[in-house]
């Protein structure tokens, strides 16, 4: 007799319960009971004290009524249902996401194949165009020479290439979604919980289904994980930026008969640009954070060294590569912030 037997008896459900009786695989608890020599029947005859009343969970209800599934039946069902949709899902997602693999691999090959004496000046030139600040260019130069000097240059370039591709794709996806959210309240209401979920889900959690869907050797696996995590800020800040555009200016645009397209490209996006750039900055920072975790699923770069530090307890390797990541983060942040400030100055709002 289990604790909740009486409940099912009094509801007249006993026959339904017994009809569902089947000897599923034995649970660990049953196994232990068997070993200690106390059969369930004997245990049940001892009346349970009130203070020990079990929570009416699936497992304790199952003890009283076999028709009710156990918790592990439930998790198994989730697993089975995922596995059953896995193949059709894979058939759809695989071709769609294939370009991501190409982009990641292609960029990685390009970055690695470019000799350091071309790559570093190219990066410095890019920094100059984005930030127009000699100080930041010098900082970038010093950092890369240092990373090269301690033989971390290749790892750093790998990490950089992943971030480069993932940020590009995040912006390409995020800005249009943000614009759509700013224009449609319903779409915004639907999306906000999704974005909240993407931001709060522990990063390991989306790796689990992704591992089942794609092969661990494919680069799109970590690409998707990084983009899902990093796309959120650019969406949010694009939405916010467009909603924050001065109503008076929008009204003026309407009063002079602008079409929606003229308004979007001529007024809303330019005026939201500082916010959008702030979103891009956040996206870069978040993809950098994720690229380390993604090394668990074979993403190359500095994260691999950090992982080695953890796995083999190689303290020095872990700390030095961790410092390398911090250095990259500082560089990317300074560059994008300087670019952002440049935009802010040229579009500073009136009065």
């Amino acid at each position: 007799m289990a604790f909740y037997d009486g409940v099912f008896d009094s509801l007249g459900l006993r026959s339904w319960c017994d009809a569902g009786a089947n000897d599923g695989p034995m649970t660990m608890a049953q196994l232990l009971q068997k070993k200690s020599g106390v059969t369930p029947e004997v245990a049940a005859t001892q009346s349970t004290p009130l203070m020990d009343t079990p929570f009416p969970s699936l497992d304790s209800l199952h003890e009283a009524c076999n028709s009710i599934p156990r918790t592990r039946d439930m998790t198994e069902a989730v697993e089975l249902s995922f596995l059953s949709i896995k193949d059709p899902l894979k058939a759809v997602l695989d071709p769609i996401t294939q370009p991501l693999s190409w982009a990641l691999d292609g960029t990685m090959n390009l970055f690695e194949a470019t000799p350091w004496f071309i790559m570093i000046p190219a990066l410095l030139l890019l920094t100059w165009f984005a930030a127009r600040s000699l100080g930041i260019v010098l900082l970038v130069a010093a950092s890369f020479l240092f990373l090269g000097f301690i033989d971390h240059y290749t790892y750093a370039i790998q990490t950089l290439s992943i971030i480069f591709v993932c940020t590009m794709i995040s912006v390409a996806i995020g800005v249009p979604i943000g614009i759509a959210m700013a224009r449609n309240d319903t779409f915004q209401r639907i999306n906000i919980p999704l974005l909240d979920m993407l931001q709060t889900l522990p990063t390991f959690v989306y790796l689990i289904p992704l591992i089942f869907l794609f092969s661990v050797t494919e680069s799109k696996l970590y690409g998707i994980a990084i983009i899902l995590y990093a796309v959120v800020p650019v969406i949010r800040l694009t939405d916010l930026g467009i909603r924050l555009v001065d109503r008076d200016v929008i009204e003026a645009a309407d009063a002079f008969g602008m079409t929606d397209r003229q308004k979007l490209f001529g007024v809303q996006i330019p005026l939201a640009l500082p916010n959008i750039m702030a979103g891009v900055n956040q996206t870069i920072m978040m993809s950098l954070a994720m690229v380390v975790i993604a090394s668990l699923v074979s993403a190359p770069g500095l994260g691999v060294l950090v992982l080695r530090g953890i796995r083999n307890l190689e303290l020095g390797v872990g700390l030095v590569s961790g410092f390398g990541i911090v250095l990259l983060a500082v560089l990317l942040d300074r560059c994008t912030k300087a670019a952002l400030n440049r935009i802010n100055v040229s579009t500073k709002a009136g009065s």
């Binding site: 200016v249 003026a252 009063a255």
Partner: protein
């Protein structure tokens, strides 16, 4: 201040450019039901308290005449900004008609409406609403670019009007580098550059300090002398309204309390609300000789001087040196119009009360 060219007296029937007919605007979830209640005579407060709808505009009928400045005046919450936004349909009415050259604007589809806003009505805003990321010249030529004209035409037109409003030399600057008064000049240049017949000015000078405001009023009157645009001007400032208006509409709680020639409203206020307004202002500076002179064909030979009908009373008092014995001959282009004696003038300076008002009218 006195125009030298003979101006058309406001009483002459000019062509009606825009006619607002039985316009209602009710804000709330179910305006149509509320509309029937309002038509049955429910007031603004009752509608808000019991039905949770706000009565924005209540049966507005206004004729806006071609080439005149129509000033719509009222305190905040009187619905004046709501009203002006119905003309170019930035706000959709609950019921009524807005006729532009006899065509009902409210039947327009999106394309017609855009053409109306691009070509027929331009607007000047209280907070200037310039595009902060464009230069002054690009802002001024904005309406041309929106219409799809090329950058050269836009720059030429924009530059021409910037020059006209006294802003030559700042074309390459950004709006935030200019003072408020200069920004509003850009706003006016932008509206003029669209070459529309109608200009809507929503509290255009209210954000400016008094001296600049007076300058801008002068600028507007001077431009109007040459351009003869149909201007709808919103303000909460009676002095501004009286200085600019050919036709004055006074709004209160969403309905028209009184409308007409400003001098007439000043002399014969129809409502305690308007009296309270009118009581505050310097009547001598606003009232003109033509409004209070006695029309008589045969002028007595003895008078102290000749005065133009458009002179203000203040100017006449100054002319007389404070002598109340004087009597003046009012002449326009050498033709006698009537006489004005100083004692009559002094009586006109006393704010009218409704009772006396009727006596005086008889």
């Amino acid at each position: 201040m006195t125009p030298t060219a003979p101006t058309m007296p406001a009483t002459d029937p000019a062509r009606v450019k825009v006619a607002i007919r039985n316009l209602y605007k009710i804000f709330g979830p179910d305006p149509q039901t509320a509309l029937t209640l309002v038509r049955e005579g429910m007031g603004k407060n009752e509608l808000l308290d019991h039905h949770n709808h706000t009565l924005g505009l209540n049966d507005i009928n206004v004729d806006i005449r071609e080439g005149e400045i129509t000033v719509i005046m009222g305190l905040s919450g009187s619905g004046k900004s709501t009203l002006i936004r119905h003309l170019n349909r930035l706000i959709e009415p609950t019921a009524g008609e807005v006729l532009l050259d006899g065509e009902n604007v409210l039947t327009y589809g999106p394309a017609d409406l855009r053409r109306l806003r691009q070509e027929k009505m331009s607007m000047v805003f209280q907070k200037f609403a310039l595009l902060p990321h464009r230069t002054v010249l690009q802002n001024a030529g904005m309406s041309r670019r929106i219409r799809g004209e090329d950058q050269d035409t836009a720059d030429r037109e924009g530059g021409k009007w910037l020059d006209r409003v006294g802003l030559a030399g700042v074309e390459a600057q950004y709006p935030h580098q200019l003072s408020g008064g200069m920004q509003q000049r850009v706003g006016i240049a932008r509206a003029l550059a669209s070459d529309s017949d109608i200009m809507l000015m929503d509290e255009a000078f209210s954000a400016l300090d008094p001296l600049i405001r007076s300058d801008m009023q002068g600028l507007l009157l001077e431009l109007q002398k040459d351009l003869h645009k149909t201007i709808v001007f919103i303000t909460h400032d009676l002095d501004e309204a009286l200085r600019l208006a050919d036709h004055l509409v006074i709004l209160k709680d969403g309905f028209v309390v009184q409308q007409g020639e400003p001098q007439h409203i000043l002399l014969y206020p129809s409502d305690p609300y308007i009296e309270a307004f009118v009581g505050e202002i310097n009547r001598a500076r606003v009232l003109r000789v033509r409004s209070i002179m006695q029309r008589c064909p045969d002028v007595p030979p003895a008078f102290s001087g000749v005065v133009s009908p458009d002179a203000t009373l203040e100017e006449l008092i100054e002319m007389s040196g404070g002598n109340t014995e004087c009597c003046y001959n009012v002449q326009q282009d050498g033709a006698d119009l009537g006489i004005l004696d100083m004692q009559h003038l002094v009586r006109a300076l006393v704010p009218a009360r409704p009772g006396e008002d009727k006596l005086a009218a008889q």
